[in-house]
Amino acid sequence: MIAIIKRVKELGSNALIASREFRDYVEKQETEINRGISSLCILSTIIQSDKKELHGYKILKDLTEKTNEMLVIEEGTLYPMLRKLEHDKIISSRKEESGRKRKFYSMTGYGKQVFNHLAGFYSKLTEAVAPLFDVKVDLKQDKYFYCPMCANKIDLSNKDLKFCTICGFNIEQELIERGLRNE
Protein backbone atom coordinates (compact mmCIF):
# COMPACT_ATOMS: atom_id res chain seq x y z
CA MET A 1 0.00 0.00 0.00
CA ILE A 2 1.43 3.34 -0.99
CA ALA A 3 0.55 6.17 1.35
CA ILE A 4 -0.42 9.40 -0.39
CA ILE A 5 2.22 11.28 1.56
CA LYS A 6 4.86 9.17 -0.22
CA ARG A 7 3.77 10.61 -3.55
CA VAL A 8 3.60 14.22 -2.41
CA LYS A 9 6.55 16.35 -3.41
CA GLU A 10 8.09 18.82 -1.05
CA LEU A 11 7.14 22.19 -2.45
CA GLY A 12 8.54 24.48 0.20
CA SER A 13 11.28 24.07 2.77
CA ASN A 14 9.00 25.53 5.47
CA ALA A 15 6.14 23.14 4.70
CA LEU A 16 5.37 20.54 7.38
CA ILE A 17 6.05 17.79 4.88
CA ALA A 18 9.74 18.69 5.03
CA SER A 19 9.80 17.33 8.59
CA ARG A 20 11.02 13.74 8.71
CA GLU A 21 9.08 13.07 11.90
CA PHE A 22 5.81 14.28 10.34
CA ARG A 23 6.39 12.28 7.14
CA ASP A 24 7.14 9.05 9.01
CA TYR A 25 4.16 9.41 11.33
CA VAL A 26 1.67 10.24 8.57
CA GLU A 27 3.01 7.53 6.27
CA LYS A 28 2.59 4.93 9.00
CA GLN A 29 -0.98 6.05 9.75
CA GLU A 30 -1.98 6.13 6.08
CA THR A 31 -0.50 2.67 5.50
CA GLU A 32 -2.46 1.33 8.50
CA ILE A 33 -5.74 2.77 7.16
CA ASN A 34 -5.05 1.38 3.67
CA ARG A 35 -4.07 -2.05 4.94
CA GLY A 36 -7.49 -2.60 6.48
CA ILE A 37 -9.48 -1.86 3.36
CA SER A 38 -7.14 -3.15 0.65
CA SER A 39 -8.37 -6.75 0.72
CA LEU A 40 -11.95 -5.57 0.58
CA CYS A 41 -11.19 -3.34 -2.40
CA ILE A 42 -9.40 -6.18 -4.21
CA LEU A 43 -12.46 -8.40 -3.75
CA SER A 44 -14.75 -5.59 -4.87
CA THR A 45 -12.69 -5.11 -8.04
CA ILE A 46 -12.96 -8.83 -8.87
CA ILE A 47 -16.73 -8.87 -8.22
CA GLN A 48 -17.35 -5.78 -10.35
CA SER A 49 -15.34 -7.07 -13.33
CA ASP A 50 -17.37 -8.15 -16.40
CA LYS A 51 -16.18 -11.76 -16.38
CA LYS A 52 -16.09 -11.92 -12.58
CA GLU A 53 -12.47 -12.97 -12.79
CA LEU A 54 -9.26 -10.97 -13.15
CA HIS A 55 -5.52 -11.54 -13.24
CA GLY A 56 -3.20 -9.75 -10.83
CA TYR A 57 -2.03 -7.01 -13.16
CA LYS A 58 -5.61 -6.11 -14.17
CA ILE A 59 -6.73 -6.03 -10.52
CA LEU A 60 -4.06 -3.48 -9.74
CA LYS A 61 -4.83 -1.41 -12.83
CA ASP A 62 -8.61 -1.36 -12.22
CA LEU A 63 -8.14 -0.57 -8.55
CA THR A 64 -5.84 2.35 -9.26
CA GLU A 65 -8.20 3.74 -11.91
CA LYS A 66 -11.43 3.26 -9.93
CA THR A 67 -10.03 4.93 -6.85
CA ASN A 68 -8.53 7.83 -8.81
CA GLU A 69 -5.08 6.69 -7.71
CA MET A 70 -5.99 7.21 -4.06
CA LEU A 71 -5.62 3.53 -3.18
CA VAL A 72 -2.42 2.29 -4.76
CA ILE A 73 -1.28 -1.17 -3.79
CA GLU A 74 2.36 -1.92 -4.48
CA GLU A 75 2.99 -4.75 -6.92
CA GLY A 76 5.02 -6.65 -4.38
CA THR A 77 2.18 -6.47 -1.85
CA LEU A 78 -0.68 -7.53 -4.13
CA TYR A 79 0.42 -11.11 -4.79
CA PRO A 80 0.97 -12.07 -1.13
CA MET A 81 -2.51 -10.65 -0.44
CA LEU A 82 -4.04 -12.68 -3.27
CA ARG A 83 -2.27 -15.77 -2.01
CA LYS A 84 -3.67 -15.21 1.47
CA LEU A 85 -7.21 -14.68 0.17
CA GLU A 86 -6.92 -17.89 -1.86
CA HIS A 87 -5.56 -19.75 1.14
CA ASP A 88 -8.52 -18.49 3.22
CA LYS A 89 -10.88 -19.87 0.53
CA ILE A 90 -12.25 -16.38 -0.27
CA ILE A 91 -11.03 -16.51 -3.87
CA SER A 92 -10.01 -19.32 -6.19
CA SER A 93 -7.70 -19.26 -9.18
CA ARG A 94 -7.34 -20.89 -12.57
CA LYS A 95 -4.40 -20.81 -14.91
CA GLU A 96 -4.73 -19.77 -18.53
CA GLU A 97 -4.08 -22.83 -20.67
CA SER A 98 -2.38 -21.03 -23.54
CA GLY A 99 -0.35 -17.85 -23.98
CA ARG A 100 1.28 -16.44 -20.87
CA LYS A 101 -0.56 -18.87 -18.63
CA ARG A 102 -1.78 -16.07 -16.44
CA LYS A 103 -3.47 -16.80 -13.15
CA PHE A 104 -7.08 -15.57 -13.04
CA TYR A 105 -8.80 -14.99 -9.71
CA SER A 106 -12.52 -15.27 -8.99
CA MET A 107 -14.67 -15.25 -5.86
CA THR A 108 -15.77 -18.51 -4.24
CA GLY A 109 -19.35 -18.94 -2.99
CA TYR A 110 -18.10 -18.68 0.56
CA GLY A 111 -15.99 -15.66 -0.40
CA LYS A 112 -19.05 -13.85 -1.76
CA GLN A 113 -20.83 -14.31 1.54
CA VAL A 114 -17.83 -13.08 3.49
CA PHE A 115 -17.47 -10.14 1.13
CA ASN A 116 -21.13 -9.13 1.46
CA HIS A 117 -20.86 -9.13 5.21
CA LEU A 118 -17.58 -7.17 5.29
CA ALA A 119 -18.78 -4.76 2.61
CA GLY A 120 -21.96 -4.20 4.64
CA PHE A 121 -19.99 -3.63 7.81
CA TYR A 122 -17.60 -1.25 6.07
CA SER A 123 -20.46 0.68 4.42
CA LYS A 124 -22.35 1.08 7.70
CA LEU A 125 -19.16 2.05 9.48
CA THR A 126 -18.38 4.68 6.83
CA GLU A 127 -21.90 6.04 7.14
CA ALA A 128 -21.60 6.16 10.92
CA VAL A 129 -18.26 7.95 11.01
CA ALA A 130 -19.07 10.30 8.10
CA PRO A 131 -20.51 13.08 10.32
CA LEU A 132 -17.22 13.17 12.22
CA PHE A 133 -15.56 14.38 9.04
CA ASP A 134 -18.49 16.49 7.88
CA VAL A 135 -19.12 14.34 4.81
CA LYS A 136 -22.19 12.51 3.55
CA VAL A 137 -22.39 8.85 2.54
CA ASP A 138 -25.13 7.45 0.33
CA LEU A 139 -25.68 3.77 1.05
CA LYS A 140 -28.09 3.35 -1.89
CA GLN A 141 -30.76 1.84 0.34
CA ASP A 142 -33.10 1.45 -2.62
CA LYS A 143 -30.68 -1.16 -4.02
CA TYR A 144 -29.31 -2.72 -0.89
CA PHE A 145 -30.61 -3.72 2.51
CA TYR A 146 -28.24 -3.87 5.45
CA CYS A 147 -29.12 -6.57 7.98
CA PRO A 148 -29.98 -4.81 11.28
CA MET A 149 -28.33 -7.63 13.22
CA CYS A 150 -24.99 -8.18 11.42
CA ALA A 151 -24.79 -5.39 8.77
CA ASN A 152 -24.70 -7.98 5.96
CA LYS A 153 -25.16 -6.23 2.59
CA ILE A 154 -28.15 -7.79 0.84
CA ASP A 155 -29.03 -7.11 -2.79
CA LEU A 156 -32.74 -6.21 -2.88
CA SER A 157 -33.09 -7.55 -6.42
CA ASN A 158 -32.86 -11.05 -4.99
CA LYS A 159 -36.55 -11.54 -4.20
CA ASP A 160 -36.14 -15.17 -3.09
CA LEU A 161 -33.96 -14.33 -0.14
CA LYS A 162 -35.98 -14.45 3.06
CA PHE A 163 -33.32 -14.78 5.72
CA CYS A 164 -29.92 -13.19 6.18
CA THR A 165 -27.32 -15.74 5.07
CA ILE A 166 -24.93 -14.66 7.79
CA CYS A 167 -27.07 -14.50 10.94
CA GLY A 168 -30.43 -15.93 9.86
CA PHE A 169 -32.37 -12.73 10.58
CA ASN A 170 -35.87 -12.66 9.01
CA ILE A 171 -35.29 -10.08 6.27
CA GLU A 172 -38.63 -10.57 4.55
CA GLN A 173 -40.61 -9.57 7.62
CA GLU A 174 -38.36 -6.55 8.15
CA LEU A 175 -38.72 -5.46 4.52
CA ILE A 176 -42.53 -5.81 4.68
CA GLU A 177 -42.60 -3.72 7.87
CA ARG A 178 -40.50 -1.06 6.18
CA GLY A 179 -42.74 -1.15 3.10
CA LEU A 180 -39.91 -2.30 0.84
CA ARG A 181 -41.55 -5.62 -0.03
CA ASN A 182 -45.21 -6.61 -0.48
CA GLU A 183 -46.84 -9.34 1.58
Binding site: G76, T77, Y79, R83, K101, Y110
Partner: protein, 338 residues
Protein backbone atom coordinates in the same frame (compact mmCIF):
# COMPACT_ATOMS: atom_id res chain seq x y z
CA UNK B 1 20.08 -9.29 -28.01
CA UNK B 2 17.62 -6.87 -26.36
CA UNK B 3 15.20 -9.68 -25.55
CA UNK B 4 18.02 -11.66 -23.99
CA UNK B 5 18.96 -8.65 -21.90
CA UNK B 6 15.34 -8.17 -20.81
CA UNK B 7 15.08 -11.83 -19.85
CA UNK B 8 18.37 -11.60 -18.00
CA UNK B 9 17.25 -8.52 -16.03
CA UNK B 10 13.95 -10.17 -15.07
CA UNK B 11 15.58 -13.49 -14.16
CA UNK B 12 18.15 -11.75 -12.01
CA UNK B 13 15.38 -9.91 -10.15
CA UNK B 14 13.34 -13.09 -9.70
CA UNK B 15 16.43 -14.94 -8.48
CA UNK B 16 16.91 -12.33 -5.78
CA UNK B 17 13.24 -12.54 -4.80
CA UNK B 18 13.50 -16.35 -4.60
CA UNK B 19 16.51 -16.11 -2.29
CA UNK B 20 14.63 -13.83 0.06
CA UNK B 21 11.36 -15.83 0.13
CA UNK B 22 10.61 -17.75 3.36
CA UNK B 23 11.57 -21.42 3.45
CA UNK B 24 8.02 -22.67 4.00
CA UNK B 25 7.09 -21.33 0.55
CA UNK B 26 10.09 -22.97 -1.08
CA UNK B 27 9.34 -26.27 0.69
CA UNK B 28 5.94 -26.35 -0.95
CA UNK B 29 7.35 -25.45 -4.38
CA UNK B 30 4.77 -22.70 -4.32
CA UNK B 31 7.46 -20.14 -5.01
CA UNK B 32 7.57 -21.23 -8.68
CA UNK B 33 4.00 -20.06 -9.16
CA UNK B 34 4.70 -16.83 -7.31
CA UNK B 35 7.74 -16.06 -9.42
CA UNK B 36 5.82 -16.86 -12.64
CA UNK B 37 3.11 -14.43 -11.59
CA UNK B 38 5.63 -11.70 -10.79
CA UNK B 39 7.29 -12.27 -14.20
CA UNK B 40 3.97 -11.95 -15.97
CA UNK B 41 3.29 -8.75 -14.08
CA UNK B 42 6.64 -7.25 -15.11
CA UNK B 43 6.03 -8.06 -18.79
CA UNK B 44 2.50 -6.60 -18.69
CA UNK B 45 3.73 -3.43 -17.01
CA UNK B 46 6.67 -3.10 -19.43
CA UNK B 47 4.27 -3.45 -22.37
CA UNK B 48 2.00 -0.77 -20.99
CA UNK B 49 4.84 1.63 -20.33
CA UNK B 50 6.20 1.21 -23.85
CA UNK B 51 4.68 3.53 -26.48
CA UNK B 52 4.90 0.85 -29.15
CA UNK B 53 3.20 -1.77 -26.98
CA UNK B 54 6.35 -3.88 -27.16
CA UNK B 55 8.47 -4.04 -24.00
CA UNK B 56 11.93 -2.52 -24.12
CA UNK B 57 14.92 -2.89 -21.83
CA UNK B 58 14.13 0.51 -20.37
CA UNK B 59 10.45 -0.23 -19.65
CA UNK B 60 11.37 -3.61 -18.19
CA UNK B 61 13.79 -1.80 -15.89
CA UNK B 62 11.07 0.63 -14.78
CA UNK B 63 8.58 -2.23 -14.26
CA UNK B 64 11.10 -4.10 -12.10
CA UNK B 65 11.74 -0.98 -10.07
CA UNK B 66 8.01 -0.51 -9.48
CA UNK B 67 7.71 -4.06 -8.16
CA UNK B 68 9.59 -3.00 -5.04
CA UNK B 69 12.72 -4.54 -3.60
CA UNK B 70 13.04 -8.34 -3.28
CA UNK B 71 13.23 -7.83 0.49
CA UNK B 72 9.92 -5.95 0.60
CA UNK B 73 8.19 -8.60 -1.54
CA UNK B 74 9.50 -11.42 0.66
CA UNK B 75 8.55 -9.47 3.79
CA UNK B 76 4.90 -9.47 2.69
CA UNK B 77 4.89 -13.27 2.47
CA UNK B 78 6.38 -13.48 5.94
CA UNK B 79 3.77 -11.10 7.34
CA UNK B 80 0.99 -13.65 7.75
CA UNK B 81 0.88 -14.50 11.42
CA UNK B 82 -0.95 -12.53 14.07
CA UNK B 83 1.68 -11.09 16.40
CA UNK B 84 1.53 -12.27 20.02
CA UNK B 85 4.62 -11.27 21.97
CA UNK B 86 7.39 -12.55 19.65
CA UNK B 87 5.61 -15.77 18.72
CA UNK B 88 2.62 -15.59 16.38
CA UNK B 89 -0.85 -16.36 17.70
CA UNK B 90 -1.11 -19.28 15.26
CA UNK B 91 2.02 -20.95 16.64
CA UNK B 92 1.41 -20.02 20.31
CA UNK B 93 -0.66 -23.12 21.28
CA UNK B 94 1.93 -25.39 19.63
CA UNK B 95 4.73 -23.55 21.45
CA UNK B 96 3.03 -24.21 24.78
CA UNK B 97 2.36 -27.83 23.88
CA UNK B 98 5.97 -28.48 22.85
CA UNK B 99 7.24 -26.66 25.95
CA UNK B 100 5.09 -28.64 28.38
CA UNK B 101 5.74 -31.92 26.52
CA UNK B 102 9.51 -31.48 26.59
CA UNK B 103 9.44 -30.34 30.26
CA UNK B 104 7.43 -33.44 31.22
CA UNK B 105 9.83 -35.65 29.27
CA UNK B 106 12.92 -34.13 30.93
CA UNK B 107 11.46 -34.54 34.43
CA UNK B 108 10.25 -38.07 33.68
CA UNK B 109 13.60 -39.23 32.29
CA UNK B 110 15.55 -37.64 35.17
CA UNK B 111 13.24 -39.17 37.78
CA UNK B 112 13.48 -42.63 36.18
CA UNK B 113 17.29 -42.36 36.06
CA UNK B 114 17.33 -41.30 39.72
CA UNK B 115 15.06 -44.16 40.77
CA UNK B 116 17.42 -46.58 39.00
CA UNK B 117 20.37 -44.92 40.80
CA UNK B 118 18.65 -45.28 44.17
CA UNK B 119 17.84 -48.94 43.53
CA UNK B 120 21.51 -49.59 42.72
CA UNK B 121 22.59 -47.61 45.80
CA UNK B 122 24.17 -44.69 43.94
CA UNK B 123 22.86 -41.94 46.20
CA UNK B 124 25.35 -39.18 45.46
CA UNK B 125 23.68 -38.41 42.14
CA UNK B 126 20.34 -37.28 43.66
CA UNK B 127 21.37 -33.65 43.91
CA UNK B 128 22.83 -33.84 40.38
CA UNK B 129 19.45 -35.09 39.24
CA UNK B 130 17.62 -32.09 40.68
CA UNK B 131 20.17 -29.75 39.12
CA UNK B 132 19.81 -31.71 35.87
CA UNK B 133 16.05 -31.09 35.83
CA UNK B 134 16.55 -27.37 36.34
CA UNK B 135 19.32 -27.01 33.73
CA UNK B 136 17.44 -29.26 31.29
CA UNK B 137 14.26 -27.20 31.65
CA UNK B 138 16.17 -23.95 31.20
CA UNK B 139 17.98 -25.13 28.07
CA UNK B 140 14.79 -26.64 26.60
CA UNK B 141 12.86 -23.43 27.29
CA UNK B 142 15.55 -21.28 25.63
CA UNK B 143 15.97 -23.52 22.57
CA UNK B 144 12.22 -24.03 21.97
CA UNK B 145 11.52 -20.31 22.41
CA UNK B 146 14.24 -19.31 19.93
CA UNK B 147 12.97 -21.87 17.39
CA UNK B 148 9.38 -20.61 17.66
CA UNK B 149 10.38 -16.93 17.47
CA UNK B 150 12.33 -17.65 14.27
CA UNK B 151 9.43 -19.67 12.82
CA UNK B 152 7.04 -16.78 13.62
CA UNK B 153 9.35 -14.21 12.04
CA UNK B 154 9.55 -16.34 8.89
CA UNK B 155 5.74 -16.52 8.77
CA UNK B 156 5.36 -20.24 9.36
CA UNK B 157 1.86 -21.60 10.09
CA UNK B 158 1.05 -24.94 11.75
CA UNK B 159 -0.21 -26.30 8.41
CA UNK B 160 3.27 -25.82 6.90
CA UNK B 161 4.30 -28.87 8.91
CA UNK B 162 1.40 -31.00 7.69
CA UNK B 163 1.77 -33.63 4.99
CA UNK B 164 0.23 -33.11 1.54
CA UNK B 165 -2.37 -35.75 2.35
CA UNK B 166 -3.47 -33.95 5.49
CA UNK B 167 -3.64 -30.63 3.67
CA UNK B 168 -5.77 -32.11 0.87
CA UNK B 169 -8.14 -33.59 3.46
CA UNK B 170 -8.40 -30.23 5.18
CA UNK B 171 -9.05 -28.44 1.91
CA UNK B 172 -11.97 -30.72 1.13
CA UNK B 173 -13.61 -30.12 4.47
CA UNK B 174 -16.82 -28.20 3.88
CA UNK B 175 -17.57 -25.05 5.82
CA UNK B 176 -19.43 -25.95 8.96
CA UNK B 177 -21.15 -23.91 11.56
CA UNK B 178 -19.33 -24.13 14.87
CA UNK B 179 -20.87 -26.83 17.02
CA UNK B 180 -21.76 -25.94 20.53
CA UNK B 181 -19.04 -27.27 22.80
CA UNK B 182 -19.93 -29.50 25.70
CA UNK B 183 -19.80 -27.59 28.97
CA UNK B 184 -16.56 -28.34 30.82
CA UNK B 185 -16.55 -29.88 34.28
CA UNK B 186 -15.43 -27.51 37.04
CA UNK B 187 -11.65 -27.76 37.26
CA UNK B 188 -11.46 -27.42 41.04
CA UNK B 189 -13.32 -28.33 44.21
CA UNK B 190 -12.58 -25.20 46.27
CA UNK B 191 -13.67 -26.63 49.61
CA UNK B 192 -11.46 -29.70 49.15
CA UNK B 193 -8.46 -27.52 48.31
CA UNK B 194 -9.06 -25.26 51.32
CA UNK B 195 -9.42 -28.22 53.73
CA UNK B 196 -6.36 -30.00 52.26
CA UNK B 197 -4.32 -26.80 52.33
CA UNK B 198 -5.36 -26.06 55.93
CA UNK B 199 -4.28 -29.53 57.07
CA UNK B 200 -0.89 -28.99 55.39
CA UNK B 201 -0.66 -25.58 57.02
CA UNK B 202 -1.43 -26.98 60.50
CA UNK B 203 1.04 -29.84 60.11
CA UNK B 204 3.70 -27.40 58.81
CA UNK B 205 3.21 -25.16 61.84
CA UNK B 206 3.43 -28.24 64.06
CA UNK B 207 6.81 -29.16 62.53
CA UNK B 208 8.14 -25.64 62.98
CA UNK B 209 6.87 -25.05 66.55
CA UNK B 210 7.62 -28.65 67.66
CA UNK B 211 5.31 -28.33 70.70
CA UNK B 212 5.74 -31.74 72.39
CA UNK B 213 8.96 -31.40 74.42
CA UNK B 214 8.82 -34.97 75.77
CA UNK B 215 9.24 -36.19 72.16
CA UNK B 216 11.15 -33.42 70.38
CA UNK B 217 13.71 -32.98 73.16
CA UNK B 218 14.92 -36.52 72.50
CA UNK B 219 15.74 -35.80 68.86
CA UNK B 220 18.99 -34.60 67.31
CA UNK B 221 19.18 -30.78 66.90
CA UNK B 222 20.06 -31.07 63.20
CA UNK B 223 17.14 -33.41 62.59
CA UNK B 224 14.79 -30.90 64.25
CA UNK B 225 16.17 -28.17 62.00
CA UNK B 226 15.46 -30.31 58.92
CA UNK B 227 11.93 -30.86 60.24
CA UNK B 228 11.48 -27.10 60.47
CA UNK B 229 12.60 -26.73 56.86
CA UNK B 230 10.09 -29.41 55.87
CA UNK B 231 7.47 -27.45 57.86
CA UNK B 232 8.21 -24.28 55.85
CA UNK B 233 7.66 -26.17 52.59
CA UNK B 234 4.42 -27.70 53.92
CA UNK B 235 3.10 -24.29 54.96
CA UNK B 236 3.99 -22.85 51.54
CA UNK B 237 2.22 -25.67 49.71
CA UNK B 238 -0.74 -25.38 52.06
CA UNK B 239 -1.00 -21.63 51.43
CA UNK B 240 -0.84 -22.26 47.66
CA UNK B 241 -3.66 -24.85 47.90
CA UNK B 242 -5.79 -22.50 49.99
CA UNK B 243 -5.10 -19.71 47.47
CA UNK B 244 -6.40 -21.89 44.64
CA UNK B 245 -9.42 -22.79 46.76
CA UNK B 246 -10.15 -19.12 47.38
CA UNK B 247 -9.74 -18.19 43.70
CA UNK B 248 -12.36 -20.86 43.08
CA UNK B 249 -13.81 -21.88 39.75
CA UNK B 250 -12.58 -18.81 37.86
CA UNK B 251 -9.36 -17.25 36.57
CA UNK B 252 -7.69 -20.34 35.11
CA UNK B 253 -4.54 -18.30 34.42
CA UNK B 254 -4.15 -17.54 38.13
CA UNK B 255 -4.54 -21.29 38.84
CA UNK B 256 -1.83 -22.05 36.28
CA UNK B 257 0.53 -19.57 37.95
CA UNK B 258 -0.13 -21.11 41.38
CA UNK B 259 0.48 -24.62 39.97
CA UNK B 260 3.78 -23.42 38.45
CA UNK B 261 4.88 -22.02 41.83
CA UNK B 262 3.81 -25.30 43.48
CA UNK B 263 6.08 -27.23 41.07
CA UNK B 264 9.00 -25.04 42.17
CA UNK B 265 8.20 -25.53 45.86
CA UNK B 266 7.83 -29.30 45.47
CA UNK B 267 11.17 -29.61 43.65
CA UNK B 268 12.87 -27.38 46.22
CA UNK B 269 11.45 -29.47 49.09
CA UNK B 270 13.33 -32.49 47.72
CA UNK B 271 16.54 -30.90 49.02
CA UNK B 272 15.37 -31.47 52.65
CA UNK B 273 14.85 -35.20 51.99
CA UNK B 274 18.29 -35.37 50.32
CA UNK B 275 19.85 -33.76 53.42
CA UNK B 276 18.13 -36.30 55.69
CA UNK B 277 19.06 -39.14 53.37
CA UNK B 278 22.74 -38.31 53.76
CA UNK B 279 22.55 -38.33 57.58
CA UNK B 280 20.79 -41.57 58.55
CA UNK B 281 22.48 -41.52 61.96
CA UNK B 282 20.43 -38.51 63.12
CA UNK B 283 17.06 -40.09 62.23
CA UNK B 284 15.33 -40.98 65.52
CA UNK B 285 13.66 -44.25 66.39
CA UNK B 286 11.76 -43.69 69.63
CA UNK B 287 10.69 -46.57 71.82
CA UNK B 288 9.26 -46.81 75.34
CA UNK B 289 11.80 -48.35 77.70
CA UNK B 290 12.46 -48.93 81.36
CA UNK B 291 10.18 -49.36 84.34
CA UNK B 292 8.54 -45.95 83.86
CA UNK B 293 7.97 -46.68 80.13
CA UNK B 294 9.81 -43.45 79.19
CA UNK B 295 10.56 -42.68 75.53
CA UNK B 296 14.16 -43.30 74.44
CA UNK B 297 15.82 -42.42 71.14
CA UNK B 298 17.74 -45.49 69.94
CA UNK B 299 18.36 -44.19 66.38
CA UNK B 300 18.68 -46.36 63.28
CA UNK B 301 21.02 -49.30 63.43
CA UNK B 302 23.82 -48.99 60.80
CA UNK B 303 22.56 -52.17 59.18
CA UNK B 304 19.36 -50.36 58.13
CA UNK B 305 21.05 -47.30 56.60
CA UNK B 306 20.65 -48.61 53.04
CA UNK B 307 16.96 -49.33 53.62
CA UNK B 308 16.58 -45.82 55.06
CA UNK B 309 18.19 -44.32 51.95
CA UNK B 310 16.00 -46.39 49.63
CA UNK B 311 12.85 -45.16 51.44
CA UNK B 312 14.10 -41.56 51.20
CA UNK B 313 14.82 -42.09 47.47
CA UNK B 314 11.27 -43.38 46.95
CA UNK B 315 9.90 -40.27 48.74
CA UNK B 316 11.99 -38.06 46.42
CA UNK B 317 10.66 -39.94 43.37
CA UNK B 318 7.05 -39.62 44.59
CA UNK B 319 7.42 -35.86 45.19
CA UNK B 320 9.06 -35.36 41.77
CA UNK B 321 6.38 -37.46 40.06
CA UNK B 322 3.62 -35.55 41.86
CA UNK B 323 4.75 -32.43 39.92
CA UNK B 324 3.49 -34.21 36.79
CA UNK B 325 -0.03 -33.73 38.19
CA UNK B 326 0.65 -29.97 38.39
CA UNK B 327 2.01 -29.95 34.84
CA UNK B 328 -1.06 -31.83 33.64
CA UNK B 329 -3.38 -29.38 35.42
CA UNK B 330 -1.56 -26.41 33.85
CA UNK B 331 -2.07 -28.04 30.45
CA UNK B 332 -5.71 -28.95 31.17
CA UNK B 333 -6.54 -25.41 32.36
CA UNK B 334 -5.75 -24.09 28.87
CA UNK B 335 -9.14 -25.32 27.62
CA UNK B 336 -10.92 -23.34 30.36
CA UNK B 337 -9.44 -20.05 29.22
CA UNK B 338 -11.76 -19.70 26.18
Amino acid sequence: MSENEMNFAINEFLKEVKDKLPEWLKDKKEHKEILAELEDHIWSKAEELSQSGQPTLETVGIAIKQMGTPESIAKEYKRRGTPKVYISEELWPYYKKVLSGVATLIILITVIVQIVNIIFGNLETIWDGIMGIQIGLLIAFAVITVVFVVLSMEGYFPEDFMSKKELEKRKKEPYRAVEKEKPLKPFIKPIGEIIGGSLGLIFGVFLIVQPLPFIFSLMDGLFLLYLQFAGIFMITEGVLDITRGLIGKRQPLAHQVVHAITIGVKLASISVVVLMMNRPEIFPILIAQGPSEALVNIGIAPGFYTLFRIIAGIIIAVVALSTLDNFYKIYKLESYKK
